[in-house]
């Protein structure tokens, strides 16, 4: 075993243990801020696995999009809704967790069995390695052109939708008029337009 292969093996073992333990931590840890940071660790380790698979472009995209955007967005959402609230106890919660754990373990056993008994056709054709980025570019501008353009439309729709959903909509609050909310708006607003609208 040469030094490069043993390094690869060690990297794989470290990354996979970080992924599994980090995933468990995301699900099980009570404090949600800790689980958000652990989620960032899981994303970074998945990017490391992509590097082991000779896919530097996708690894960079993973770090940029997941760690840089999605994880930061989740942290912002946690900060915005961060209220120490005591969840109401529910009857049979333990039983529910146990049964869903059984179902997930069954799914895991099924997937393991499929993984092991299937004869995967490896090794396939020789991996192209470093020119993978160029090959992805060729794919995106030839046979995957339509999904590529649709993805841009999807991102635009998601952006507009997120703005519309998260906007603090003064007029719709006013339509549901309870008096205290209305008074609050009038008191808080320094803008004349708001005062005129609420006096109508």
């Amino acid at each position: 075993m040469t030094i490069s292969t043993s390094t690869e093996l060690i990297c794989f073992l470290i990354l996979s243990s970080v992924i599994v333990s980090g995933g468990l931590g995301v699900v099980l840890i009570e404090n949600i801020v800790y689980s958000a940071f652990l989620l960032g660790g899981v994303f970074m380790s998945v990017a490391g696995l992509y590097l082991l698979l000779n896919a530097s472009f996708v690894a960079a995209a993973q770090v940029l999009v997941y760690v840089g955007a999605v994880n930061v967005l989740i942290l912002f959402a946690i900060m915005l809704v961060n209220k120490k609230e005591v969840m109401k106890p529910i009857k049979g919660l333990k039983l529910r967790k146990f049964f869903s754990g059984c179902v997930c373990a069954g799914l895991l056993a099924l997937l393991f069995r499929v993984n092991i008994i299937t004869n995967w056709a490896t090794p396939g054709p020789q991996a192209i390695g470093e020119i993978a980025t160029e090959r992805i570019g060729e794919h995106l501008f030839t046979d995957y052109l339509l999904p590529f353009e649709l993805a841009s439309v999807l991102l635009l729709m998601a952006m507009i939708g997120a703005i519309v959903l998260a906007r603090r909509d003064v007029i719709s609050i006013e339509l549901e008029t309870t008096k205290s909310i209305q008074e609050n708006i009038i008191n808080n607003s320094t803008d004349n337009v708001l005062l005129n609208q609420s006096n109508d």
Binding site: V27, L49, A55, Y66, I116, T122, A127, G161, A162
Partner: protein, 108 residues
């Protein structure tokens, strides 16, 4: 069982991905905090991405179509996270809670 020609077999990546996917499913079912539900969905999407990348590297090493699919999945996941968190914020504004058990607006 394992192909001894390659150092890290394809099965190892698939096993990691399936473990991560099952953790994600369990978290999706059992989380009571709505933000944690979104985090579990991200875990599941990452598990699927690991699968796609492993197959594209081991079986389709020539025309890495799996990597293109992974790029698309990452795009959709980013859009999903943005819209999901916006929905979560407006829910929180209406209900002042993030407990999944109290979101029963569609119950009849």
């Amino acid at each position: 069982m394992f192909n001894s020609q390659e150092l890290i077999p394809l099965n190892a990546y698939l096993l990691i991905a399936s473990i991560l996917f099952c953790i994600g499913v369990w978290g999706l079912i059992n989380s009571r905090n709505a933000v944690r539900v979104l985090m579990s969905i991200e875990l599941m999407l990452n598990a699927v991405n690991i699968n796609l990348m492993a197959f594209s590297s081991y079986i389709d090493g020539n025309l890495i179509r799996g990597q293109v699919f992974t790029v698309f999945v990452i795009t959709v996941a980013a859009a999903e996270a943005a819209v999901g968190l916006a929905i979560l914020l407006s829910l929180y504004r209406n209900r002042t809670t993030v407990d999944m058990e109290s979101f029963n607006l569609l119950k009849w």
